[in-house]
């Protein structure tokens, strides 16, 4: 029986793939209160378990999978999962986040987290049901795509109610940006965790649970639920997401000129309409899909009904799909984009890894830095959709030129002596947008502990915060001015800690951490999250303590990275953003200024209590967070 009155399952599963041993340990109260769950658990366990300098593919690397604290409760949009390891992309902390139904099922099966050590000799899968676990042979699943893997597992267990987190051929073949796919709906895309799992010869983790996730104070919990529903009702954003999903952002990227198209050589897309969110809705949308208990439902269920790709049924696309597989390689046929998206899901490939690497190769080809002999005879120019589809196959199986593309932009840049064209931060490719127009966005991407990432912080607060709110929260009204730099380091640091809470709780950022009103951000992301946590778990918590838990985890991740050799130099955007101005669209002429960026980075380190030379958290900072 769990020591917790609710929320937590109360147990952590330890699996050693080398000797096949399995242990169950209780989750300790102190640990839960300090790290909350999800990314808090994964990051802390990795800091303790992973030695500096190890090869990400060696048996000593550790994969930690953790459910968000609120996963499994009826808290809306709380079903998010974190899958983490030392990343083969960055060499630092690597974590991928996925929605869907897997994370709650892990709780119903009796566990808050799984720690996987060692390497199996033969392929295996991990079966977990109601507090028990076993390793089962998976030779027959090895080599299968993710959909086939799920079908075979459902047939084999005779159970269509199981939830499956699997890798595809890309993970097996150690494609550096291989992802994990949870059921039909979720993808833990970034940081190459699928490749680490592949190196361990672990094909899938399958869960089935029928245990209760208790609620400590049901009355208070119900009230929180009602409060949360009220905050959603007034949001335009909720309706937009339900109608268009994240592809609604295509209109914003186009009108602001921040696409990062053609490997960040273009800011807008000339033939934009076909790949707009509206067009994807019109042509392919069957219905919106919601993760567990989601009142928003931003995911898309799409079907291609005619043309050469008729018969594709898939969950997607996301905005990131369109950014990676349309804008970057400059392809504007939406059916091709869905086909490419479908293949990435089947092979278990991170779409951003694929789109960024192929786009970089296209630029090198057009510049004459790659020849047709090197690219398997493919005319690798922007807009060549056949080449994109051709190389998705080759990347997944590491065949021909696909073998180099499978390494990601950083290593490809080193091997081809073309670093400048590799648009990554710490080894992870820049996603989402071109940050040249907005230096705070550049800072957020660059200091992100997992490498370039738009979900590690919220640099957009200055677009809507009122001067008096800015004064109260960040000590200066200047934070409400778009152009001002003063206080922005502090604003970015604050937003990172605040967003970290969502990854600890398992809460969705779109549902909980999105609003154009600063008081609503505080209300939902901190106050209601705290209320849901306390009423579900019965543990004491205040807004201030909860915020500190976010900050603690961010510092743990920074510590991990510093120990793995990533210092201040890792916190810079790619050189192109400093050297080249945007050449088209409304942001034409924008580029980053090195002096300005340096100053902002200094301010950020100061706000964080980190050493300005090394980026290392100071002893005082660590002490204040209970991390000595």
């Amino acid at each position: 029986m769990s020591i917790f009155a609710g929320g937590y399952a109360g147990q952590i599963l330890f699996v050693n793939l080398t000797d096949g041993s399995i242990q169950v340990k209780p989750l300790e109260r102190e640990f839960a209160l300090k790290y909350i769950g999800g990314r808090g658990f994964t990051s802390r366990i990795l800091l303790d378990e992973v030695k500096p300098g190890i090869d990400p593919y060696c048996p000593d690397n550790v994969v930690v999978i953790a459910a968000g604290t609120l996963s499994g409760t009826p808290t809306p949009s709380s079903g998010r999962l974190v899958v983490a390891a030392k990343s083969p992309m960055t060499g630092g902390i690597g974590d991928a986040n996925s929605g869907g139904y897997w994370s709650p099922e892990l709780k119903y099966a009796g566990f808050d987290a799984i720690v996987i050590r060692g390497t199996s000799k033969d392929p295996v899968y991990l079966w977990i049901e109601d507090g028990r676990a076993e390793l089962r042979p998976a030779q027959h699943l090895w080599g299968q795509n993710t959909t086939e893997t799920r079908q075979l597992l459902k047939e084999e267990t005779g159970d269509d109610d199981i939830h499956i987190c699997a890798i595809g051929p890309a993970g097996e073949n150690l494609v550096r940006y291989a992802c994990v796919v949870t059921d039909e709906e979720g993808v833990g895309g970034r940081c190459g965790i699928g490749a680490v799992i592949g190196s361990k010869k672990l094909k899938a983790v399958v869960v089935r649970g029928s245990l209760d996730v208790r609620i400590a104070d049901p009355e208070r919990f119900k009230k929180t639920l009602e409060d949360y529903r009220k905050t959603l009702a007034g949001e335009v954003w909720t309706e937009t997401l339900r109608r268009l999903g994240t592809p609604n952002l295509t209109a914003h990227r186009q009108s602001h000129g921040i696409w990062g198209a053609k490997n960040f050589q273009r800011a807008t897309i000339e033939d934009y309409e076909p790949i707009s969110g509206e067009n994807f809705r019109k042509k392919f949308l069957m219905k919106p899909i919601g993760c567990m208990g989601c009142l928003v439902s931003c995911k898309r269920y799409s079907a291609v009904k005619d043309g050469p790709f008729a018969g594709i049924y898939t969950v997607g696309p996301e905005y990131e799909t369109i950014n990676a597989l349309a804008a970057k390689p400059y392809i504007t046929d939406p059916a091709i984009v869905l086909r490419a998206h479908y293949l990435c899901d089947e092979y278990g490939l991170d779409e951003q890894g694929v789109g960024s690497t192929v786009a970089m190769a296209m630029e090198l080809y057009e510049r004459g830095l790659l020849t047709k002999e090197q690219t398997d005879g493919q005319e690798l120019v922007f807009g060549n959709s056949e080449a994109l589809l051709y190389f998705i196959d080759k990347i997944a199986y590491r065949k021909g030129f696909g073998d180099l593309l499978a390494e990601g932009t950083k290593i490809m840049g080193e091997r081809l002596n073309a670093d400048y064209y590799a648009i990554h931060i710490k080894g992870l490719e820049v996603d989402a947008t071109d940050p040249r127009k907005q230096v705070t966005r550049a800072l957020t991407y660059a200091v992100s502990t997992r490498g370039a990432c738009h979900l590690r912080g919220n640099p957009y607060i200055d677009e809507f915060i009122k001067p008096e709110e800015a004064e109260a929260y960040f000590g200066t009204a200047a934070v409400s001015e778009l152009e001002a730099l003063e206080g922005k380091g502090k604003m970015v640091a604050w937003s990172e800690d605040w967003v970290t809470i969502s990854d600890q709780m398992g809460l969705c950022k779109f549902a909980w951490y999105r609003s154009r009103s600063f008081p609503m951000l505080i209300k939902r992301g901190l106050e209601l999250a705290k209320e849901a946590f306390t009423s579900a778990t019965g543990l004491p918590m205040t807004n201030e303590k909860l915020y500190e838990c976010g900050e603690r985890v961010y510092n743990v991740e920074k510590l991990f990275n510093v120990r793995q050799g990533i210092g201040r130099e890792g916190d810079y955007p790619p050189a192109r953003f400093f050297e080249e101005e945007l050449t088209d669209g409304p942001a034409k002429g924008c580029k980053l200024d090195r002096k300005e960026y340096d100053r902002l980075l200094d301010d950020y380190y100061e706000a964080r209590g980190w050493d300005k030379k090394t980026g290392e958290p100071t002893p005082e900072k660590l002490r204040s967070l209970g991390l000595e």
């Binding site: 609710g6 499994g72 409760t73 009826p74 809306p76 139904y101 709650p104 709780k107 119903y108 709906e185 649970g209 029928s210 245990l211 209760d212 996730v213 208790r214 609620i215 049901p218 119900k222 339900r242 109608r243 809705r281 949308l285 069957m286 219905k287 919106p288 899909i289 919601g290 993760c291 567990m292 208990g293 989601c294 009142l295 928003v296 439902s297 269920y301 079907a303 049924y313």
Partner: protein, 164 residues
Amino acid sequence: MGRQRIGYFEDLQDPEHICSRCHMCELICTFHHHQVGNPKRSRIRLISLDKGVDVPVTCLNCEDAPCMNICPTGALYRPESDGMVTVKEDLCIGCAMCVNACPVGAITLDPVDGMAVKCDLCGGDPQCVDYCPANVLKLTDAERFARHRMRGFVKSLQASGEEG
């Protein structure tokens, strides 16, 4: 109103009014009845097939209810002549005869206490209806449900007329 039950009122012409697979009905049902999170204790269950087919299934409240007829202890009964078939928990022996008899699988044994569980319409204010974000679950009866189906049928005729 005739015998009440929960109906699935999708509109296949409108993507926003089709079940979005969020499982909120299951979560809120279990929370309402047991104050915990556990979809396997829910009295409404979501069935998902390939190609995006998701349908929430729950008790149809049959007139000549097989579960009620087969129950050897009289634990299943209809308190009012047109009310919902209800489980008298102290009479239920957990034999699962009702589970075998139900044509849609809407009655099951609770995985925790082993007794028969089925939809009770939350005493008249069904929580799944209240919480469904796609607004496709409604408290209904055969007449209203048939009208909904008729509307869908006529709309499809209208659509094919416009195309033709």
